[in-house]
């Protein structure tokens, strides 16, 4: 029973990534979709951190990147939610499938 | 008049002047005067060309002008003329004047109409004088939009459909040309640089394999413009829906762009491939000739008849090119000029008839010679020209093609020639059928009796074109001698690899 290595973490993060994608593709609630996005972002963060820790421990690029990703994710979520609310005012729903006036 | 650029500048200026005109009278007169000036300059060009040659100037292209345009891509503004292009320019200027005069009575959107006509002529002039392949292509494309709008806005019948079809098929043609030209460009190497320069490309010794796949693109591309079978289907609809002047320009000038390109670009630049493919060209041309003439037999609409006969006549151009003998090539050029003038006059006459009787159906027309002798006579004269009556231009061109084609002794070319020659009988049949029904015979409709004969501008236009027809028909030698040396040059390039036939 050796200690946890890079591959395990990558495995987890990849799984997380696909879970997030699955969520994004299947959930009808826009807020939930945003959360799925967050999942994906977190998997990416894990990647960065893991790579940084196991491979390139001398520099901190990965860590920084993670920090920035988190911040931007917050900003993105903020704007997204604002827009969703505005949409809700118009169509009284946050079901993503309701928003299909424009097609073809 | 040795500054060729003026040939482009004057129509542009005229077009711009038209935009600033106040009323229709000004517009008409401006464009008329502009075109007349252009005609004078074209004639001046021809005379100075002839005199230059007489003085022993043996350069392939005279009056050259060359400015670097897009130096990074080695694109130049490079113009110059030889006998063939001079002939073409003369043709264009004749047809332009006539077309502008014929469309004197255009009422709706006069300004736009004449502006587009002039733009179209700019394209033609530019195409004929430019020696840089890129510039040439540019001018070839310029004409697309005017054609579309002229037909779609001022046309008759199912004009939208025809206009769209014409625009798209011609665009298809130019796309093929574009591909061919690009390939050519990247396969030339003049001391490390690719070149668009026609004269350099001609001697760039492109390997045969490359030529073999460049040539079809170029030839078919230009062929679409000159109704190469089976890419001719834009011709009937386009011509018949177009307003008179536009049909004159289309048949008289625009189809000749194709012939000129097929000769000057495809055949001249890809000689070896041209030899390889010539049998296909001959085949298609023969089919077009026979098939076009027979299809004409069945038409009931004057314009459709003329459009289909144009397919048949343009077949002679391609046949002459495909035969790859000097005389045949000369014949092809003669046919271009002759058919240009003749068919323009034909469409003019049909337009005059249509404007008065408001029908082009053969079944409705009859006995027009009695009420409008002038127009009737013009119609008969063009008819006779188109069936190749001696003394009129058509005869000279077709005979030259035949004599040239007959120099290919093998059975295939003989058969092609005989079939082509046989078509002149069919031509006689449909021409006389139309003339006999529409112009001669009893008057079918009583209200024809108060129709007026041609007015001054129509007379002017017709006489101008008839003069052209007669000038070629009675004294062909001047045109022939104008063209012959350059056909010789093309032949030398063709036979550089080995002797044809």
């Amino acid at each position: 029973m050796e200690n946890i290595g890079l591959t395990h973490i990558l495995f987890v993060s990849t799984t997380l990534f696909f879970i997030g994608v699955y969520g994004f593709l299947t959930r009808k609630n826009m807020i939930t979709m945003l959360m799925a996005i967050e999942l994906i972002l977190n998997s990416i963060n894990m990647n960065f951190v893991a790579f940084n820790k196991f491979l390139y421990a001398d520099k901190l690029d990965g860590i920084f990147f993670t920090v920035f990703i988190i911040t931007i994710a917050a900003a993105e979520a903020a704007v997204a939610i604002a827009i969703i609310i505005h949409l809700y005012r118009n169509i009284k729903s946050i079901d993503v499938d309701e928003a299909d006036i424009m097609k073809y | 008049m040795t500054n060729l650029s003026i040939l482009i500048i004057v129509p542009i200026l005229t077009a711009i002047a038209v935009l600033f005109c106040r009323n229709t009278m000004q517009i008409k007169w401006t464009s008329f005067i502009g075109s007349i000036v252009q005609l004078c300059m074209a004639s001046g060009l021809m005379f100075s060309y002839i005199s230059e040659r007489a003085l022993g100037n043996t350069a392939q292209m005279l009056f050259q002008q060359r400015y670097s345009w897009y130096s990074a891509l080695n694109i130049e503004y490079f113009v110059g003329v030889d006998g063939i292009s001079v002939a073409m320019i003369m043709l264009t200027s004749f047809v332009v004047v006539a077309g502008i005069l014929i469309s004197w009575s255009v009422q709706t959107l006069t300004k736009e109409f004449f502006f587009l006509l002039l733009l179209l002529s700019v394209g033609a002039y530019g195409f004929f004088i430019s020696l840089d392949l890129f510039t040439m292509f540019f001018f070839l494309e310029v004409a697309v939009i005017p054609k579309f709008l002229l037909i779609a806005v001022w046309g008759s019948g199912k004009k939208e459909y025809s206009a769209m079809k014409l625009a798209l098929m011609l665009m298809g043609g130019s796309v093929f040309v574009l591909i061919g030209l690009l390939t050519t460009y990247f396969n030339t190497n003049i001391n490390g640089l690719h070149t668009w320069d026609l004269l350099q490309v001609a001697h760039a010794q492109i390997p045969l394999q490359t030529q073999m796949y460049i040539f079809p693109f170029l030839f078919v591309g230009f062929g679409v413009f000159t109704a190469l079978f089976p890419f001719h289907t834009w011709v009937p609809d386009g011509h018949s829906s177009a307003p008179t002047a536009a049909s004159m320009f289309l048949a008289g000038i625009s189809m000749k762009l194709g012939g000129y390109g097929a000769l000057r670009v495809a055949t001249y630049l890809m000689p070896e491939a041209a030899q390889e493919y010539s049998w296909i060209i001959v085949l298609l041309a023969t089919i077009a000739i026979i098939y076009g003439s027979f299809a004409t037999l069945m038409q009931k609409d004057l314009k459709y008849m003329n459009a289909y006969s144009s397919i048949s006549h343009c077949g002679f151009i391609l046949l002459g090119i495909g035969m790859l003998t000097k005389i045949a090539i000369i014949g092809a050029v003669l046919q271009m000029v002759s058919h240009g003038v003749m068919t323009a006059l034909f469409f003019g006459a049909i337009g005059m008839i249509y404007e008065r009787t408001h029908t082009r159906q053969l079944s409705d027309l009859g006995g027009l010679l009695k009420v409008m002798p002038f127009i009737g006579t013009v119609y008969v004269i063009t008819g006779l020209c188109s069936l190749g009556l001696p003394g009129l231009s058509g005869f000279v061109a077709e005979m030259t093609v035949f004599v040239g084609a007959w120099q290919r002794p093998d059975a295939f070319h003989r058969t092609a020639t005989i079939l082509a020659a046989a078509s002149i009988v069919v031509t006689a049949v449909y021409i006389l059928r139309a003339a006999g029904k529409a112009v001669m015979g009893p008057i079918t409709n009583q209200h024809y009796l108060e129709l007026k004969d041609a007015n001054w501008n129509e007379k002017f236009a017709s006489v101008l074109l008839i003069i052209g027809i007669l000038a070629i028909g009675i004294a062909p030698f001047w045109l022939y001698n104008l063209i012959a040396p350059d056909a010789q040059i093309i032949m030398e390039n063709l036979t550089r690899g080995g002797i044809v036939n």
């Binding site: 979709m33 993503v96 097609k103 | 098939y291 009988v425 006389l432 001669m440 030698f477």
Partner: protein, 646 residues
């Protein structure tokens, strides 16, 4: 040498008057156009008479042989150093003879028309066309270049088209003109190809060079004789094709169908074009190339047989027609047949060349008396206002002069001595008696028939029942025709009496050298007696009103009707053009174009449309679907590029 300027004037005067009348005269003084045309033609006739005198008696003959003289030559189109179309004037016995005939007959017709066309409001146009025709015809006979002859060939074709269609508001006239033009045009296709063949092997278009190269042994002759196609040598093909053109113009079988219909034109025109001048162009062409024809017996035989068959065929039909102009038309065809087979049986030099000489001789005499016949018929029609002999009869009282002249002409064509036709026909019969017995027999038979139908015509017009007018206002009856019409009749009548005594064998021969022909009385008796018998028969049948003719026609009903229906040639042609050309080729071609090729282009367009229509549902408007496609695309790219593309 003789001064060329006035020779050029001979063809130029008509074209000048054509331009003058056509451009100025018609508009400003239509009254005088007729006079102008006539005047110009008078001049050019006198010039040609002078020329003929000079040629035959002063400068033409060099040590006993008439030369071919190139009086003028301008290069019109220089294809290659060898092959060039020249515009030139070639003088030799036949061309000089022809210009005399052409100008003379044309002059007669001009004068005659002054009276005949009097009061027609388009008379100026009429004279314009006449001048154009005369010019083209002169150009044709004077041609020094085979392509030049083709050019003028076409021009006479078109002027005949214009003149036949002169009454252009009459549908039948329009139809006839179209028919004439198209049929001859078809034949001319052969002519053109023939020219191409000959010129290709002889490498020239110039008559003299061509003849010289193809008759003297050498590379050219061997080349064209050895090159063979479908079993026949190129020479044969070339000559055949050229002869096809000739047959077309000269209304030989099977191209004869246009000639009868051509009678729709004004009668003087028929006299000029469709009797005297244009229709003999074919004969002239063969004569012009005769030395080459001699090199190729097959071609000559074909000429001979086509000639005799057409001749007999036409004679038979002529016996049954009732439209007098059509009768004359068929007789013209028959007489031209005579000229043709005379050429066909002829040899080249000396005695051998009797046929050639005879043919030219007959051409000469026939031109005169046939023109006379037509003009006579013209004045009859002018009087009766009908073409049908059923409306005529007993006219000898009303129009004596016409009657006499017509009688003379009939005697001439029937070959009764001492009238013109007798001599020429005798020469022809002699020639083919020596050459080909079968042709001789047929020829004699035809001669008999000729006499018969001519007198059938004559009696039906001038004797038979008494003339009763068919239209109301009697005062319109002006008795005999005006002077301007009678004058030409009388002149021609006089000529058709004396023309036979011209010693053609001295002047017009194949090789240019004259020869002696002795006149066998015994040989002449047979045909003459036959002719007289035929005349008597005609007199018996038609001089008085009786049922005999009907009985005869009933007794040979099948032959009669089929002959009356011209052996159904028109029907056959109609079938070929309408059913085969139009329905079997034209209609399919049009259909294919509309549906296949045009359809192809439209198909491409519609395919694009359909595809774009079918894929539009992928743009479903649901954000998650987009995401799914996005992700699918991602996976696709990844798989493709990581696992497949490498």
């Amino acid at each position: 040498m003789l001064s060329q300027n006035y020779i050029a004037l001979i063809p130029l005067l008509p074209i000048i008057s054509f331009l003058f009348i056509g451009l100025i005269g018609r508009a400003y003084f239509p009254k005088f156009c007729g006079l102008i045309g006539t005047l110009s033609l008078l001049i050019s006739f006198s010039l040609s008479a002078i020329l003929a005198y000079q040629f035959f008696f002063e400068i033409g003959k060099v040590n006993g042989v008439y030369q071919k003289i190139i009086a003028l030559k301008y290069t019109w189109l220089q294809f290659t150093p060898n092959i060039a179309i020249d515009m030139g004037i070639l003088l030799d016995p036949i061309s000089v003879m022809m210009i005399v005939i052409v100008t003379f007959i044309s002059l007669m017709v001009h004068i005659y028309s002054l009276g005949y066309m009097h009061g027609d409001h388009r008379i100026s146009t009429y004279y314009t066309f006449l001048s154009l025709f005369t010019f083209s015809m002169l150009g044709l006979v004077l041609s020094s270049n085979i392509f030049q002859i083709y050019i003028f060939w076409e021009l006479v074709g078109v002027s005949s088209f214009l003149l036949i269609g002169y009454y252009y508001d009459k549908p039948s006239a329009v139809a006839a003109s179209k028919k004439a033009f198209i049929v001859t045009r078809f034949a001319d296709l052969g002519f053109l190809l023939g020219i191409l063949v000959l010129s290709y092997y002889s490498e020239t278009l110039d008559f003299q060079t061509l003849i010289q190269r193809l008759t003297t042994n050498g590379t050219y002759l061997s080349g064209i004789a050895t090159a063979s196609f479908l079993g026949a040598s190129a020479l044969t093909w070339g000559l055949m094709l050229v002869f096809m053109g000739g047959a077309g113009k000269s209304a030989m079988l099977p191209f004869h169908i246009w000639l009868p219909d051509a009678m729709e034109g004004p009668t003087p025109v028929s006299a000029l074009i469709h009797a005297a001048t244009m229709v003999v162009a074919g004969v002239y062409l063969v004569a012009r190339l005769f030395p080459v024809f001699v090199m190729c017996p097959i071609a000559l035989d074909i000429v001979a047989y086509v000639g005799i068959i057409s001749s007999l065929f036409a004679a038979i039909i002529a016996c049954t027609q009732t439209d007098i102009k059509r009768v004359l038309a068929y007789s013209t065809m028959s007489q031209i047949g005579f000229m043709m087979f005379a050429l066909g049986v002829s040899g080249y030099a000396g005695e051998e060349g009797t046929g050639f000489m005879a043919s030219m001789f007959h051409l000469f005499t026939h031109a005169i008396f046939k023109a006379l016949l037509f003009l006579g018929a013209g004045s009859v029609i002018h009087y009766v206002h009908s073409n049908d002999m059923k409306d005529m009869g007993g006219l000898r009282k009303m129009m004596p002069i016409t009657h006499i002249t017509f009688l003379l002409a009939c005697l001439a064509i029937a070959g009764i001595p001492p009238f013109a036709g007798f001599f020429s026909k005798e020469e022809i019969l002699t020639a083919c008696f020596h050459a080909n017995k079968f042709i001789f027999g047929a020829a004699v038979l035809t001669a008999g028939l000729t006499a018969f139908y001519m007198f059938r015509l004559y009696f039906n017009i001038f004797w038979n029942k008494d003339f009763k007018s068919h239209h109301t206002h009697e005062e319109h009856h002006h008795g005999e025709a005006p002077k301007s019409m009678l004058f030409p009749l009388m002149i021609l009548a006089g000529l058709s009496v004396i023309a036979g005594f011209v010693p053609f064998n001295k002047f017009v021969t194949a090789d240019g050298a004259g020869f002696e022909t002795e006149f066998h009385l015994g040989f002449a008796i047979g045909p003459v007696l036959l002719a007289i018998a035929a005349i008597l028969l005609a007199w018996k049948m038609y001089a008085k009103e009786n049922s005999m003719s009907d009985n005869v026609s009933n007794s040979i009903k099948g032959l009669y009707t089929s002959a009356y229906r011209k052996f159904y040639f028109d029907e056959i042609y109609l079938f070929i053009t309408q059913k085969i050309l139009f329905n079997l080729i034209g209609r399919p071609a049009a259909w294919v174009d509309k549906n296949i090729f045009d359809g192809l282009m439209n198909l491409i367009a519609s395919i694009t449309e359909t595809v774009s229509g079918s894929i539009k549902t992928y743009q479903s408007g649901k954000a998650q679907d987009y995401a799914i496609y996005f992700f699918a695309g991602t996976l696709g790219f990844v798989l493709l590029f990581i696992y497949l593309w490498i």
